[in-house]
Symmetry: C2
Subunit: 163 residues, 2 copies
């Protein structure tokens, strides 16, 4: 029985990973692959993430009491929201207490398809854009306007910054 | 506690629904919306479903013993595979024992975004294509070549036919 449960959880994660991959590939294939187009594709992915984030957070917070402050909201994003999408929590949350938050995921699922190694780092932005949008959309629906950026230092660790 | 679990399950389903919707919209927006393009978009969605189905079934059957026959395979698709994607089983499976199977889902999730009513039936094919591909891809990876078609009679019931 343990095996089946494990298998299904892995497949649950996989569904999102595969769909995200198809979405990304399609956007990059259908548009020009010129350097100038890259920014536009990133924006498209980010916008899609934004809409999905908005929809998801609405369902997730349906029966949740209001958050008492921004830190409380960010904790919900790091725990419940992140788990819903990535089946794991954010590993580390830091803040300067002036509206800037840094979220660290040490094993970011969407990078698991990408091989480790510095030569692949240049491809990272297109793997991160959708998720930045997700967080921005979720926060927006909770009344928090934000700019969300992401960076990879050592794969598969990512740092999401919310300003 | 009950509320949270429920909320999360609903959000789990929602993630796939929202992503599928974005994918569909993007394909239809980026291509010409002419009548002649419709068939090509359906094919694109079907192919994406095919690849996702292939990937998913590989994860799902990792620790599963081989299936003893085609009927056994189809039962797995109706129960485990369908549940993985749609969080519910197929409601009814029929076969003529000559390679044709009819799978009936009485509450097909991807149609829940579409209002009931005959005037919307014409839009149904684009909501079904991805899922036909999913099943075809899963079966293909299990060594079963197939043609999978879908039809809606009364929403949100769908009939998937595997030949």
């Amino acid at each position: 029985i343990w095996t089946t449960v494990f298998g299904r959880r892995m497949a649950d994660e996989a569904l999102f990973q595969f769909l995200h991959y198809e979405l990304m590939q399609y956007i990059y294939k259908s548009a020009d692959s010129k350097e100038t187009e890259n920014g536009r594709n990133i924006t498209k992915l980010e916008n899609m993430g934004f809409r999905v984030g908005q929809g998801l957070i609405e369902r997730l917070t349906k029966d949740t009491a209001r958050f008492k402050d921004e830190l409380d909201t960010m904790k919900f994003i790091c725990k419940d929201f992140w788990t819903c999408v990535f089946k794991k929590q954010i590993d580390n949350l830091r803040t300067n207490h002036q509206g800037i938050y840094v979220l660290q995921d040490n094993k970011f699922r969407l990078l698991s398809q990408l091989s480790a190694g510095k030569q692949y780092l240049e491809h990272a932005p297109k793997y991160l854009a959708f998720s930045c949008g997700l967080v921005r959309g979720a926060l927006s629906n909770l009344g928090v306007k934000s700019i969300v950026t992401a960076e990879v230092s050592v794969m598969p660790t990512i740092l999401l910054q919310k300003i």
